[in-house]
Symmetry: C2
Subunit: 132 residues, 2 copies
Amino acid sequence: MNPLFHALFQKSRYITNCLNEVLKQHNLYSSQWTILYCLHNHGPMTLTQIWKYLNVEAPSITRAITRLETLGWVLRVEGEDKREKIVTLSPYAEKQLPVITKTILAFEEEMVGALTVEEQQQFMILLEKMKG
Amino acid sequence: MNPLFHALFQKSRYITNCLNEVLKQHNLYSSQWTILYCLHNHGPMTLTQIWKYLNVEAPSITRAITRLETLGWVLRVEGEDKREKIVTLSPYAEKQLPVITKTILAFEEEMVGALTVEEQQQFMILLEKMKG
DNA sequence: AGTATTTATTTAGCTAGGTAAATAAATTTC
DNA sequence: GAAATTTATTTACCTAGCTAAATAAATACT
């Protein structure tokens, strides 16, 4: 395996695991947080909007939302178009979000703080160049 | 979610999916290939050596090796220390490896070819800087 | 209007990562 | 040398991605 890919995959797993560790105090997994954050920024979204935005397949989002719903973080309501379900943050989620956001910002700062802004930009550019 | 992380996770998934697609012709998944390649380079290894080298937890490797064994890619034999299992490539795997390697090299060249060697090094350095 | 196609979501089932705990063999300690 | 600890592997069970196929509602076609 190309060492570059190996390093990329490993760092990706490492960051995910760290994030999960940090989010334990809020009883959340990183992917669940990603969805909550997405809803916080965009307001209510359909499942399709969510999975297209996050660049993930639909079944992953169906499962995650089901879990988030039973845990009380989101509500699923029927849209005008009765095929679609609109997902909104629950009042509980709205209340918890500020403190979770604080946790996340600290984590991100710690994780990425060793890179200058230019290096972060450079990193994104290099990532972008890896296409198929 | 920090856009840098988002981009990192996404690219990681994207490359994995592409790799899976390319490996379909050999009836392999990317993680299975990673293990075969590892064994090819190091010769017979215990499960512990494999998961430590690949930086993954033991159960992931147990499962993957079990699958690779039933598919005929590897053999599991008891070591002198009877706690450990030594994994070796099967003759079938040895025979298939060259052509699979060719597939992989072409894929990696296509995927990473847009980056100069300096950019690849730079990328690794930046990745390295993201610690916890 | 009735049929065909598209679109949104879900279900089923796979790989692949993780943790926690069980088991069995080897090693250390007393 | 018996008991305690460590080490290697496995099992059970979770999240999280994927594809393929099912379902149900909306839209397009004739």
